[in-house]
């Protein structure tokens, strides 16, 4: 009577596969409301971090006061929502207590308990000791930071700007984690020494810990100890040693020979290599210069013969071997194409931590080699199956989209660029001011300057409305040529809006300062739209901000005034020019005298001015 369903979520997954991405919606984490969605990249970061910190704070409270949160409302039971015990339950000195502390990742407590057990004389089994060694070596002999403690305060909410800055941010995070270097005679080594018969697992734990925390030569000496004790190493030990190989030797050849030596020993000890071995070898080859280039492909084919399929991390290392950032490329563009031929259409699962670097590296190479075809293929790969998970965190996603979009602006015509712009911004990607400048250049190249007011609106929303260089470039582009009437009107509105950004400095924000160039551009735009009154106001700003207008500007203004025939304004203009002691004042005066109908008083005033300027010369 009842049909059998494959798994509990199969129906839901099938229905979920019918849903695509909505190009106007922002990230699913946020509330779908125009007031509550983030509009700039700093807001995005702030909102997502605040969500996370709220969740952490809630978990902290639940775990610190578990007696208030015992009632279970959820049917069926959801274990991760119940309070978790932070403190170890078993108090007595026994092996079970040690196991419990190891599972709760309490490094120091576990080590203390082990010492107590040793002193009490109870023998601890080899398995448990191996687990303890694993724990110590993984965390480098210090307690891991508790997850519930709100530690997000260190994050600064700054805009994601250019790449050098972002790379610095990444490097600092990595170094934070590895601050603890492998200390001499630390607990791991001590406990290891106490073991009467260390087995493969113990050696493996120790070697891997040493490699992780930078004690490379020690790792190799421990390995020789292992060989002397006639033990076999396992595959993870070999992986760790291969990772450490480039650190121990200096020359490329020596590095490669060491790696080959290790692989031969692996074959002798009949240890089967796995995917991580391949990735370790390729990563090491990155540091081997030209040797790496020649050996990379043979390595991959050998591993394929052992039925180890390369993952995205292997392809990432391969690309990095051949395309060094900053180096010139000669005839290597086909490697990217070959790699893309291999991976297109496949859905990858995360198998290696470096998998997340693939997309960024690939799109960087496309940007450097200006290869738009491959970039499209890379982007297509992102849409296949579960590959979207391998794009990395928000930070890396931002880098990926920035590079992709810059490439598009450079290579494609404006319609395609705008299509991608509407698709990606701002639902997936908040562009930085550099990328927006690239977009402006693309508009300029394809002669679609009429879209500038729209772009300005987007710029204001993205929070780039107060960047001086960007705004000045906008004004220059608008003032350069005369457009048709409607476009000129929109330009004038946009220009007045820009002026507002200069004036109001609310919130103590960085206020932009007027330059002569930006002011003259603004005036020209307004004049071209026949808005003489507004332009007159702006002209007065020259004096207040101590900037000098150019002669062409004043000439243009005079022509405009002539069309309306306002003599007083013309005279004021001449006075302004004289006030700035511009060398072109006499010409202006001449023009006014010729082109305008002046009264006696005005004529005399003009002649006075003329004399004045002659005298000042």
């Amino acid at each position: 009577m009842f049909t059998v369903i494959r798994s509990k979520e199969a129906v839901l997954q099938a229905l979920a596969s019918t849903v695509n991405r909505d190009p106007t919606a922002s990230d699913y984490r946020f509330q779908d409301d125009p007031y509550l969605t983030p509009k700039t990249s700093s807001e995005f970061k702030l909102f997502s971090l605040s969500q996370e910190s709220g969740r952490n704070a809630a978990k902290y409270f639940i775990s610190t006061y578990p007696k208030y949160f015992q009632k279970d409302y959820a049917q069926p039971h959801i274990p991760c929502l119940m309070p978790e015990t932070l403190e170890a339950q078993i108090e007595e000195v026994s092996e079970a207590a040690l196991i419990e502390r190891i599972q709760m990742r309490k490094v120091k407590a576990a080590v203390d308990l082990y010492d107590q057990l040793q002193q009490a004389g109870t023998p601890v089994s080899l398995d448990v000791t191996n687990q303890l060694l694993d724990l110590i070596c993984f965390y480098g002999d210090c307690d891991p930071a508790q997850e519930n403690v709100p530690e997000q305060r260190n994050e600064e909410t700054e805009d994601v700007q250019d790449e050098p800055q972002t790379k610095k941010g990444r490097a600092s995070k990595a170094s934070d984690k590895l601050k603890a270097a492998w200390k001499e005679n630390n607990n791991a080594e001590r406990i290891f020494a106490l073991l009467s018969e260390p087995n493969t697992h113990s050696y493996s734990a120790l070697i891997r810990g040493m490699v992780k925390y930078g004690a490379y030569s020690k790792a190799f000496s421990t390995y020789t100890d292992l060989l002397n004790n006639q033990l076999k190493a396992d595959v993870s030990t070999f992986n760790a040693l291969i990772t450490a190989a480039p650190e121990v030797k200096e020359k490329y050849n020596e590095k490669w020979e060491l790696i080959v030596d290790l692989l031969k020993q692996m074959a002798e000890q009949k240890v089967k290599p796995n995917l991580l071995t391949l990735n370790a070898v390729l990563k090491a080859l990155r540091r081997c210069g030209t040797v790496g280039k020649s050996q990379a492909f043979p390595v991959i084919s050998e591993m394929r013969a052992l039925s180890i399929d390369p993952s995205l991390a292997s392809y990432n290392h391969l690309l990095s071997i051949f395309y060094k950032p900053g180096a010139p490329f000669q005839g290597q563009t086909d490697i990217l194409q070959e790699v893309m031929n291999e991976v297109s259409g496949k859905s990858f699962t995360p198998q290696d931590p470096d998998d997340a670097q693939f997309f960024i590296t690939a799109v960087r190479i496309c940007l450097d080699t200006k290869d738009i075809e491959q970039a499209y293929r890379v982007h297509e790969l992102l849409g296949v199956g579960e590959n979207w998970r391998l794009l990395g965190n928000d930070f890396q996603q931002n880098i990926y989209h920035a590079r992709f979009f810059s490439l598009l602006c450079m290579m494609e015509n404006i319609d395609v660029v705008l299509k991608w712009y509407r698709d990606l911004v701002p639902s997936v990607y908040y562009p930085s001011s550099n990328v927006m400048r690239d977009l402006l250049q693309a508009l300029d190249t394809d002669n679609r300057l009429d879209l500038i007011p729209q772009i300005w609106k987007d710029l204001k929303q993205l929070g780039h409305g107060n960047r001086q260089t960007l705004v000045e470039e906008l004004l220059t582009l608008m003032a350069r040529e005369k457009q048709n009437q409607e476009v000129q009107e929109t330009f004038a509105e946009c220009a007045l809006d820009i002026k507002k950004m200069y004036d109001t400095g609310d919130r103590g924000k960085v206020m932009m300062s007027w330059t002569a160039g930006s002011l003259s551009d603004l005036v020209s735009v307004l004049l071209a739209a026949q808005r003489r009154q507004d332009a007159w106001e702006i002209l007065k700003l020259f004096k207040t901000h101590n900037r000098v207008p150019s002669e062409e500007l004043l000439d243009k203004f005079l022509t405009c005034i002539k069309e309306s025939g306002d003599v007083n304004q013309a005279l004021e203009l001449v006075q302004i020019s004289a006030g700035f002691c511009l060398p072109g004042t006499p010409k202006l005066i001449q023009r006014v005298q010729q082109e305008f109908l002046l009264s006696e008083q005005q004529k005399s005033m003009l002649s006075d001015l003329e004399i004045q300027t002659f005298n000042s010369d």
């Binding site: 009577m1 099938a14 106007t24 919606a25 779908d32 125009p34 929303q461």
Partner: protein, 338 residues
């Protein structure tokens, strides 16, 4: 600074005004001066405050809402991506100019922005025909083939006379369970069961309001057990018990009176007796009283009497309609040779 200047002026004015106007004007004058002194000092403070504001950034301007995303939606967008699941009405995500609410005092129904009435009601924006088509396509992989022999409704009813219905519920809340999921409804047509007349009548009597005369369907709804499987078994058990009980004849069923009968029977009814009486009386004018069984049968066998019987049955069983009454009138007329 301003106040100190006014003070000697005030003292001099005191002497002038006190002779003319009295204290009232003096106080008003002093009040005016005091106000001006307050104003001047406040002007000084606002200057310092403004400078401080620029430096410290105390007063923040209100955050502006962005434009709703309906502005950026294209006409040919994928609506199933905007509303993939049941969600409340979001005015910034639905590009329709709907209005809802009571128009107050010659106004119009309020617009969609911030309209609680639109949020309260359930909407089916997630179940457009396109969405349903997509869902059906995706769910086809879980379905088995329909048996090709069952290609018409009649065949389905013939081979599977019992219909069992139960509901599934999906909701996201504190609990995934819904107590209504245990309810089982069993429907069967009595014509498909093997019942004779007595059994059918007894079954209908036993099932009371569960039997629907128009569709000849017996509906058994069970929800007394906590699990659906148990309720299903209970419903099948009830059906079996009803069937077997209706075939059995109990001793006390012989005491069935005329009032218990489901439909009107003409035999042994007061109407039959009256007709017989009347006919005999009519006859008795001619022959002497010979009330025998034979005459009775003979009388009853007459076509007029049969017709009268038919119309009587029709009237009582089917109710009074124009047609029935007409036929009754005709039958009575024939009976009495009018």
């Amino acid at each position: 600074m301003a106040a100190s200047v006014t003070r000697p002026a005030l003292s001099s004015l005191c002497k002038i005004n006190s002779n003319i106007n009295g204290i009232y004007s003096l106080t008003s004058f002093s009040r005016r001066i005091s106000i001006s002194s307050v104003l001047s000092t406040s002007a000084v403070t606002t200057e310092t405050e403004a400078a401080g504001r620029g430096v410290r950034g105390q007063r923040r301007s209100k955050r502006q809402a962005g434009e709703p995303r309906t502005e950026r939606m294209t006409v040919d967008q994928d609506w199933t991506a905007v509303y993939p699941t049941a969600a409340s009405f979001k005015p910034s995500a639905v590009p329709l100019p709907v209005r809802m609410g009571y128009p107050v005092k010659r106004g119009v129904p309020p617009a969609k922005k911030g309209n609680l009435e639109l949020i309260k009601i359930p909407n089916f924006l997630h179940l457009t025909p396109v969405a349903i088509k997509k869902h059906c396509e995706a769910l086809k992989q879980f379905c088995t083939e329909w048996p090709s022999a069952l290609d018409s409704d009649e065949k389905c009813v013939k081979h599977f006379p019992i219909q069992v219905q139960s509901k599934e519920f999906v909701s996201a809340g504190l609990s995934l369970r819904n107590p209504d999921v245990r309810i089982v409804t069993l429907k069967v047509k009595l014509s498909s069961l093997n019942l004779d007349d007595h059994a059918r009548k007894k079954m209908i009597k036993l099932s009371e309001e569960r039997y629907c005369k128009d569709t000849d369907t017996l509906t058994i709804t069970t929800d007394s057990c906590p699990l659906r499987q148990q309720n299903y078994d209970y419903a099948m058990y009830l059906l079996t018990v009803l069937y077997h009980e209706s075939w059995k004849t109990e001793a006390w069923e012989q005491e069935k009176t005329r009032a218990d009968m489901e439909e009107y029977e003409w035999e042994d009814s007061p109407s039959q007796k009256k007709v017989l009486d009347t006919l005999l009386r009519m006859r008795a004018l001619g022959a002497k009283d010979e009330v025998e069984e034979g005459t009775r049968e003979e009388l009853l066998g007459q076509p007029a009497v049969q017709e009268y019987r038919d119309t009587m049955l029709r009237l009582k069983n089917e109710g009074e309609t124009e047609e029935n009454l007409q036929q009754y009138k005709e039958a009575v007329k024939k009976l009495f040779n009018i």
